[in-house]
Homo-oligomer: 198 residues x 2
């Protein structure tokens, strides 16, 4: 047992399964933890325990929170805008919240349609979306700009056809701070088509 | 609380303090954990608890293990070679063990001399080394090839002068798999000086 006993070895192996950490960086992380037992390792252990006990998935929107309905679904001001943003994943919801998009609500699909991976409409939280949609004035489809994301957006548009609900998608264009030279042709051509007056 | 409650926010902040993880990757890691609550989050929490309880620093060599003296110091075969390898850090000990250097023992200094950072001889585990050294036939100074590492090696050589113990250091040279073109001049010149017959 070169790396100091089975307890340490197991901790390394579990940490190595986190995204962004491999076996080598997990080993460094564990040493870092052991050296900072009081300041970091014990608080992290306690924080994990608390999160395991507290975290649940919102049964309305699919967000991850410590309450269900989550704080966004429970906040009446969030409903006033009448905007429901559909995202693939909780990470996308968090990203939009960090961007400060305002008083909106979300619906987390939990993935995208991907026939090659065997992921069909029944594997996503689509029924909940169809049920919630009529309560909102506008559905923003904020899927990733990938083939699967756009396929999923088309599918949802078809499902909501005839309901009269306004359906929009995020704008394509030049990322803020981005350089034209490094952009792909598709983005550039979309950015030109959607040009706005100054 | 955009990211789902104080428990989640705190877990993100603690994970972000690990080397190799920043705020963004810590957030991804926490979502990864939450999605794999049974398979990863709960086992990780338990592994941390066990490690917190079990891990201690070996009072002989400074290695991190679940026993003190550690498994290396307690293994009589490790003493037979008469070789004691001095390293800066436990990570270096682990690296040498992974390299399979054989039946050797170690001494972890816990750092290097660095006057600019206020780290002097009293801040390192040097007295223990001076005490242990006479029991070994050879002391290998395996400090990093940095200015501080080499300063520390010189200091140890001075402290052990007159004891008659053989003191060696790791070879400098071309890393296995390395390309000459990418090597610095110092390494290349050392590699040429230390060339070996084929």
């Amino acid at each position: 047992m070169p790396n100091g006993g089975p307890e340490i070895e197991q901790l390394i192996q579990l940490l190595a399964r986190l995204p962004g950490l491999g076996p080598r960086s997990a080993r460094r992380a564990v040493l870092h933890l052991i050296k900072r037992k009081e300041q970091l390792m014990i608080p992290l252990s306690a924080a994990l325990d608390r999160a395991v006990a507290a975290v649940r998935t919102c049964e309305v929107c699919g967000n991850v929170d410590t309450a269900s309905p989550c704080s966004i679904c429970a906040d009446p001001r969030r409903g006033e805008s009448g905007i429901l943003i559909v995202v693939e994943d909780v990470a996308d919801l968090w990203a939009l919240e960090r961007a400060g998009v305002g008083n909106v609500r979300y619906h987390v699909l939990g993935g995208v349609l991907s026939p090659l991976d065997g992921i069909g409409p029944d594997d996503l939280h689509l029924d909940g979306l169809i049920e919630r949609a009529p309560a909102y004035g506008e559905i923003v489809l904020a899927m990733n700009a990938t083939v699967e994301g756009q396929t999923t957006a088309h599918y949802i548009t078809d499902r909501l056809a005839g309901t009269g609900i306004k359906i929009t998608r995020l704008a394509h264009g030049v990322p803020v701070g981005g350089e034209l030279d490094y952009l792909d042709e598709g983005t550039l051509s979309q950015a030109l088509k959607a040009r706005t007056a100054l």
